[in-house]
Symmetry: C2
Subunit: 695 residues, 2 copies
Amino acid sequence: MQKFFYPRSVAVVGVSDDPANLAQGIVANMLHFKYQGKIFLVGRRPGTIFGLPIFPGLADLPEPVDLAAILAPARVVPSLVRECGQLGISRVVVESAGFSELNQAGLTLEAEVRAALKQYGMRLVGPNGLGLVNLDLGLALPFAQIGSRINRGRISIIAQSGGVATHVLAWMTKEGLGLNKFLSLGNKLDVAENEVLEYLLEDPGTAAIYIYLEGVEDGRGLLKVANRATKPIYLHLANIGPETAAIAQSHTASLTTDERVLEAACRHSRIIRVKTQSEFLNAVKLVDQPPVRGNRVVVFSRSGGEAVVAAYACRQFGFTLPPLSDRLVQSIKARSRAGVIHPANPIDLGDVFDFTLYTDIMAAVCRDPEVDAVLFHYGPIAEFEQEPARKMARRMLELAREAEKPLAITVLCTPDEEDFLRDTLGVPVFHFPEDAVAALAGSRDLAARGEILSPQALPPLPSAATIAETLAGPNPEGFLPLAQALTVVESLGLSLASWAATATPEEATVAAGRLGFPVVLKLSAPSLIHKTEAGGVELDLHDAVALQKAFGRLAQVAQSHLPPHEAWQVVVMSQVAGGQELLLGARRDDSFGPVVAFGAGGVDTEILDDVALRLAPLNPAQARELMAETRIGRILAGTRGRPPADLDSLSRALAALSQLMLQFPQIREVDLNPVRVFPGKSGLLALDARIRVDA
Amino acid sequence: MQKFFYPRSVAVVGVSDDPANLAQGIVANMLHFKYQGKIFLVGRRPGTIFGLPIFPGLADLPEPVDLAAILAPARVVPSLVRECGQLGISRVVVESAGFSELNQAGLTLEAEVRAALKQYGMRLVGPNGLGLVNLDLGLALPFAQIGSRINRGRISIIAQSGGVATHVLAWMTKEGLGLNKFLSLGNKLDVAENEVLEYLLEDPGTAAIYIYLEGVEDGRGLLKVANRATKPIYLHLANIGPETAAIAQSHTASLTTDERVLEAACRHSRIIRVKTQSEFLNAVKLVDQPPVRGNRVVVFSRSGGEAVVAAYACRQFGFTLPPLSDRLVQSIKARSRAGVIHPANPIDLGDVFDFTLYTDIMAAVCRDPEVDAVLFHYGPIAEFEQEPARKMARRMLELAREAEKPLAITVLCTPDEEDFLRDTLGVPVFHFPEDAVAALAGSRDLAARGEILSPQALPPLPSAATIAETLAGPNPEGFLPLAQALTVVESLGLSLASWAATATPEEATVAAGRLGFPVVLKLSAPSLIHKTEAGGVELDLHDAVALQKAFGRLAQVAQSHLPPHEAWQVVVMSQVAGGQELLLGARRDDSFGPVVAFGAGGVDTEILDDVALRLAPLNPAQARELMAETRIGRILAGTRGRPPADLDSLSRALAALSQLMLQFPQIREVDLNPVRVFPGKSGLLALDARIRVDA
């Protein structure tokens, strides 16, 4: 990536003196941002643009270049890329559209380009993107106007949509935030987000990274890169759901990512998920502040109303407002006019506008080990107060830095003064108190994230051989017949309601006698996926007569629902009463890999909407965290004097499911619903199992 | 209020030529905004400020004035107010602090002022506020600088905090939004929000109203005023929760309002609740657009990425993106370069920047009866495209207006051009697509609100006499003994599990024989509130022996827990199995009055967190809406082939609870938990009842 971001010379290919020529935009941007290297222009017709000559071909350039930026019709791009390879130009940026995002012919063109890259050992950014920007040396390859007033700063952007990125850039400028590097992914023919992210994480010029994606192809890879991060990564993923899938497909050829999996993936990674561009623009203002290491905020404000608004926001975001230390209360009282300042948190500074007092309060708060972050609101500032107020702001930033406590400020002053505070003094100025609190909460949540397990962290399943054998049975693809699925679950060490697979009413009666009535019967066959809906389940069988009748009904279901000659069995299972119905499950996400699920079970799972997800691997302790994310998990922990459920058994079961998914990549989905869990150490019983296996 | 907002002359009281004199700020604001009436200054020391003479007293003014704005020490305010009364000045604005918000002495001062108002028939705004502003005639009474660049416009503000209001004002200016009137409530000694709101709803200069409050004292009154509104009212209430209650108390002496009651109150009123200042600033941008009358949005965008972002936001806010009509698809295809525009919703305009095409799409979308709102994104605009783009924006606004369809726009252009589009053309320009969608959703939700019942709309309870008699029993205050509470519930027409109140083990045994075993016993006594926790409930009694032992245990509980000589009874109740446990309840909010609650019941109600509220009165149809707001309500409606529960009985029960609260204002709280409901027409059974009554 270094060669992409720091080329010593660039050839812009596709330039002409036609006013409608888009490649001119690249040249204009490079000149505007004063690119420190050499620029050469290439175009079919000779001419001069911005005083620079247009060379007829890459081979005609007076010296070799490090990078070629191509904006020519898609059909000529493969040959241009090959020419670059022949000339030893190892980095190519293609901004032209008309590739895989458009049609089949475009897909073929991409294949040709890919072959050329391989042949010559080259790398390519794009096509169908805006190229890249590095303000460290004035490199600005987008053909579109990216804004004449972009500040150089410490934020870098990776984006799948040039439109979204330039919109964010425009607002960064309005917010006084500066850009360092920007890369537009386009169709990701070669360079994709994970590689760019890895580079930017090491890049000394980059302090924070915004990634806009419309699909995460390699979520596991993304997490792996991100988990080494020591700077904030803000991931904005918009393409979630059917409506947007179509356009994103055509737009930059993306996959749809499940919203809940993404949420779970980010929650336990070093990535901050932002749902909107605004959320990023707000959160990143804390980039130069230390992390929020706890939950305790002190708010002080010259406006009582803003203090109330800030305290309200703190409560919404789960912050506490600890009482002030006695010493601080005394020092404020001693300094304030009688009764006007209320020395409680939030501190309403009343009508006192005494910069020294404010600074003293800040110093005292910074010294207080019981405080994790500070929020300050002040204003308005009359003309003559400007200089002292600036001095105060400077001193407050120093105090915060020395104490390693994050400081967020809202201020009511003229727009010019706000610009000065922000751009010159580096004060993190937020629009409103709630914005400041939201940003502090984001920093706190990131800092609070726990250990991320490596897949090697957990011991392998002891019964792996049995499971492998069962999976290698007669049905290597699709849903396993019930009996096979139950065998896999048993091999994980999970208790099942007592069961037996039987072939005849007589066998079933013998089994039921052994298991004890009442029992349930379940039809088991490879092609029977929705057995309840098909009438393949018989409940509440209290004696042999009822059982044999039920068996007969299942035999009829088998005859009418199953393909001819398909083998089937009837599973006899003890009917279990009591306990709490749960869902335990796991599935393999195309992008983020294995995910474990826990929540309220039974037929109303969807409506109860009380299922939490976590990426595998997870150990029993993390399984307990997962359970605690659900309402049912909090009920199971014991409420109103009732004993807690057997959480140990549950957490071991979830960890085992996680391990199953890691060790058997052919398993697509495991669904244990219901599982009944009992109080104390009484364990759990799975009553049903669905397992889907890939070929 | 008219006399407050349109005075022909104003006396500013408390002015001196001391540079630290705060009242000078009032004069400066009046001059800055070119007040069209006459200004007179009053202060103890003679002098001249801004070329205006300072008169020693109100009596010395050369002519009578309509309004006095007072910023003098609190202790002299009562006499100043009296003097106003004597001189026939019927409108007074007091900005001084040091009243009820400060201490007991301040409270006394307020009482004196109140007496003067009564004596002279005067009205007062404040104290402890910023007064008021009416840009229609340049009236600007705040002593604080409210911003030199405020635009005159159509938005009015009522605020309990001057700091919050001025902060919002500063941002309104940044967003190109204009102020019409502003009133700072301060301590609301006399004029309070409901009266101001009523005035502004009739005020032709006001098109939308922002109200910032730190407590709603008369929520019912607020709703009553608001429900006549034909313009949007944005209510921002920040003082919710214990942390902020203290500061708000001192700050402007407010009560804490329950967040969930407020939410329920607004959801069924003409008020839009905003949780932050930003939310208001965003939502109000649609003020000149017609309401969003449905759920179907068409998005079209020059940036595919922004289209994806917009579609994602639509999904978050519950909008659908209907497919385009065939005719529209054909017309787009005919106009676009082959394959570059994808004629699906969202419409990705690709690289085509053809203003006529855009306008044509807008015209077609406006004609389509299947579309409720339009979201458009475009940019960047090169210099030469500026004029045609403006023409397009103008035409699009016309089309939207003619079709009565709301249009929201995001645009990527220079800040100057954005200002022009917004301020000169009146284009509703949003920061990002999600902001536009949020605003559209707010408009849709307001338009979708149903009928608001008047308290007279429902028939009175037939059994009111029995209830009145029961409430007038021996325990007129606090929690009713169980037997009394059960009698009230029965009188409402709700079924209870069969029960009998008994005094001896023998009576209980007879009763149980009649009701049928198994039974439960519950101790009933005036001072026994938490009977389960006190051991006052005995479950699962299957025969007379068990019952008599249980009765003995309850007698012991009575002896050890109740005050000496307190009468007690034992309620025998059939033990009910089956059905679904629910909570039905009602309570009287200090501010918003009676509220009805429905949700998941049993001991885990708090954790299940599945209770919805609605303000009384409600009829059975609205009770069904209330139930549908909960997860348990959706389960009861029938899922996965199971029959629905007896929703008719439930909705009648909720409507009866609503009526009970309206007819018996002494009832503070009714809590029926659990109530068991059965399938089909099998009704419901309440198993417990707690009723709290005020003196």
